[in-house]
């Protein structure tokens, strides 16, 4: 187990920078999530860490050692791929044993460790099957067992849940987090799914166009986004942004409520006149779309608890007094950077 440190990593393919100067510290045992849209360079960054790609410039340190020129097998990292990359001609047992065999571990030791890993993931009864005889969820567990079996310095996961159906994904999310905590291995997890990122990460690094936009705990990312990209990328529906004079005012849809439902805390309330255009009933919440008087005709969303707001009280076309607590307002300058305003 080890800490991972990257210093200004740059990776260029021809003239295009896939990774454009990422500096990141992942302390020992942390679960770090790299979150970003497709094509933002997060997978390339992961492949640089495990040694499948070589960075154009920048330093990579694992456990305090510079590993820039080390081949993948000398880095001691394990990686789980999006399509799992199981060896189809081997049984599950041999799949899990493969990383140990490459290191020349003794037969008895291999048997013991395979036993340990398969018990940890509850796949003992699958050991003599081949990958094609397994379901998607079982394959995912086998891939995880293969990654964990040699107790890697760092565990890298590249969108490991994207091939599972929605229901399985929720339970697999719990499982991965659970195993990571039990084994205590430093983990870097790549995803474009913010639910996975928020639910699993000790910290999240939001990446866009090869650059880190913000690193922080899920709560920091959600409540105090560093810029407009993070504010609109994280959260469904995303943060509302109102522009005036090139500057931006942001607030989360769940903080935008009918005025009579807000008890004004310490800082008071910012009031707006909100025209409802349409609403969606989603069971646990009601999403209302509309525009705010005095701002550009930009769609603003409000997330309301349906138990408290009856459908007939907000009809399309009506104007309602809505408000946001001042403490929940966020300000961004012309460049989209967060500014603190008193």
């Amino acid at each position: 187990m080890a800490a991972v440190l990257t210093r200004d990593i740059i990776k260029k393919f021809a003239d295009v920078s896939a990774v454009d100067g990422i500096t990141l510290t992942v302390p020992d045992g942390e679960f770090m999530v790299l979150l970003g849209p497709s094509g933002c360079g997060k997978t390339t960054f992961l492949r640089i860490i495990c040694g499948l790609e070589k960075q154009t410039s920048g330093d990579l340190l694992i456990d305090g050692n510079v590993v820039n020129d080390m081949p993948p097998r000398a880095r001691g990292v394990a990686m789980m791929f999006q399509s799992y990359g199981l060896y189809p001609h081997y049984t599950v047992r041999n799949n899990i044993a493969f990383p140990l065999r490459t290191q020349g571990v003794s037969r008895a030791e291999i048997a013991k460790k395979v036993e340990w890993a398969s018990r940890l993931l509850g796949i003992e009864r699958l050991l003599d099957r081949r990958p094609r005889q397994l379901s998607g969820g079982e394959r995912q567990r086998v891939a995880l067992a293969r990654a964990l079996v040699r107790e890697p310095t760092v565990l890298l996961l590249d969108e490991p849940l994207s091939n599972l159906d929605a229901k399985l994904r929720a339970s697999a999310r719990q499982d991965i987090k659970h195993f990571q905590q039990r084994v205590g291995v430093t983990t870097i997890y790549v995803t474009h799914d913010q639910v996975e990122a928020m639910g699993m990460g000790d910290r999240i690094a939001v990446i866009e166009q090869g650059r880190v936009r913000q690193v922080g705990t899920p709560m920091e990312i959600y409540n105090d986004p560093a810029d407009r990209f993070v504010a609109t990328f994280v959260g469904t529906p995303p943060m509302n942004l109102l522009s005036r004079d090139g500057k931006y005012l942001g607030f989360r849809p769940e903080n935008f409520l009918p005025s009579d439902m807000i008890d004004d805390g310490d800082g008071g309330i910012a009031e707006f006149s909100f025209r409802v255009d349409r609403s969606e009933y989603l069971g646990s919440e009601r999403i209302v779309y509309g525009v705010i008087e005095g701002f550009d005709a930009h769609v603003v969303t409000a997330k309301l608890p349906p138990a408290h707001v009856a459908e007939e009280s907000i009809r399309p076309g009506e104007w309602h007094p809505f408000g946001v607590r001042r403490s929940a307002l966020r300000y961004f300058d012309q460049d989209g950077k967060r500014v603190v305003r008193q």
Partner: protein
Amino acid sequence: MVDIAEPVAARPARRFRFLLDRPDVLGAVFVAPAILYVLLLVGVPFLLAVYYSVSAYTIYDPSWRFVGLTNFAQVLRNPVFIETLGNTFLFTFASQLLGLILGKFGALLLLRPFPGRRIVRALIILPWAVPIALASVAWEWMFDSLYSVINWTLIAAGIIERSNAPNWLGNPHLAMLCVVVVNAWRFFPFAIVIFLAGITAVPQDVIDAATVDGAGFWRRNYQIIIPMTLPIVAVGLIFGIVFTFTDLSVVYLLTNGGPVNATSVLGFQGFQVGIVSGDVAHGAAISLFMLPVLLLVVAGMLRFIRRREI
């Protein structure tokens, strides 16, 4: 009530109008030429050969007298035939093995991007595309006892003396080596294509996973890539074995079976006895010895492929 439509007199449907729209009929029409081709040009001669082999048919005495298995017994008692049978196995398996090794390395080289790769890929197909009669002339010259370019090179490099330069086609063992090398040279572009197809079909994720799991080049090659390409390579190998086992062109053109039957193979022997000497019955018997061997090889390979299916 109003009539909405005039009743129309039912026209008699034409029975064969849409005959070609029926998949079963159309399929039969399309497949028929291939089946006829096989039946007339392979099936009939094969049955004819079976009959010849149990008759006393020669071109001087074209009688259809049935003699039972006498021809086979006589062939088996002939030491030249036994040597030929051994040569055929040696020739087939040695040239296939050499071709596969060359093919594997060629494929690995051609997978890497380098300037001019497309030209090299096109050139490498040449041995396969050049007519074997032409290629054999070139090879014959290279192996010539006096003017061998190979010997000239070896002498110039100081590796051998002019006085004891090898007589490639004159020495029984070297002659066998020559026909094996030429046949492998003919076969290896095919092996490259087969290996390229197999290797590109291995998912990149699997190779990456092996790399991260600590496998270096050789382990990746022998424990992941080769086992995963084995089914497709086995199919290529079946073709190679069947074609080589029945082939006589390289032997006929390069050594004419010599020296003293050292490179004679079944196809060549059958041709010599049956066509050149006119003893059709014994020629057919010799050729039919290929059948059980090839049947066994093909059945064994197909079983192997089914077992290895992934």
